[in-house]
Symmetry: C2
Subunit: 171 residues, 2 copies
């Protein structure tokens, strides 16, 4: 019973991750881009917490891992891509901005699926999607001060880093 | 090499699923709700195809399964919830519509995570998220002819059906 409650704890925190990711999307819909970016940051905090809680309580579960990936894709894949699309990328000619946003989401999904199957511990392969999402928050904040092509470059850079074979040590 | 090409084939079709899911979200952003619903339907078609291709070629892979779940959450969880929020649910008092949309996404993620861990074949536990997403397409089409509370009821109904213990035979 206590085990169940503990597991539910970690999963509840994980679900808060996707709640903030969803709220980011809704904020983007309402053209409140600052709120959308803050919700992504809150999801980053939740994502840091759930892993810590699970490890501390010794309740790392397969279900927790699956749920974590699913929530990560929404909060750090879909939410920042749609946010930057709504802010800047929509204005590129030939739907190039749309392609960049969708490419980012695809790479995020691919990275999460690959990492779950590789089942490596100790280091990450490819830039973690949480980091990519977190890096895109300041990009969103300064979206109107930065030249458009730099935002596009950031999207393409983070997309390719996620699916790269880059190894990053876990701390 | 041929094996790799075959696997890539199924995964490419799966990635088309998330491409259509992302395009649905972008269409919602542009207030083109009819296109948003059609993109969800196209994602349903892709989701039916990739499993068929994988089974026919005998290339069901763990990575394919993970990728499938991730894409399903975007196309049949996030996309229809945001679409119906933008069409009707936003207008509910006390953010009730927002809560219903986020609840639907949470239930979708929970269902996918649980099903991946249970690893059951032969039947589904809980309404598959693809079906929930597909059912919400006509709801979106007739969103302005239906009373608002019925749309809210449909969201809550499909959410709870996804996390229920209902067993549905696979065909």
């Amino acid at each position: 019973m206590l085990d169940f409650v503990n597991k539910s704890w970690a999963n509840t925190v994980t679900l808060f991750n996707i709640v903030f990711g969803s709220l980011s999307l809704v904020s983007t819909l309402h053209e409140d881009y600052q709120a959308a970016a803050i919700f992504i940051l809150l999801a980053v905090v939740m994502d840091g917490l759930d892993g810590r809680i699970a490890r501390k309580l010794g309740i790392i579960s397969d279900m927790g891992k699956e749920l974590d990936s699913l929530c990560d894709l929404v909060s750090f894949g879909v939410a920042p891509a749609i946010l930057l699309y709504a802010q800047v990328l929509y204005s590129f000619p030939y739907s190039l901005g749309l392609i960049a946003a969708v490419f980012y989401i695809m790479c995020g999904a691919f990275r999460l699926a690959r990492f779950n199957v590789l089942n490596i511990s100790g280091y990450f392969v490819g830039l973690p999607i949480t980091l990519a999402g977190a890096f895109l928050v300041p990009v969103s904040w300064f979206a109107y001060d930065l030249p458009d092509y730099l935002i596009m470059a950031a999207m393409v850079f983070f997309s390719t880093m996620m699916v790269s074979n880059l190894k990053i040590r876990k701390y």
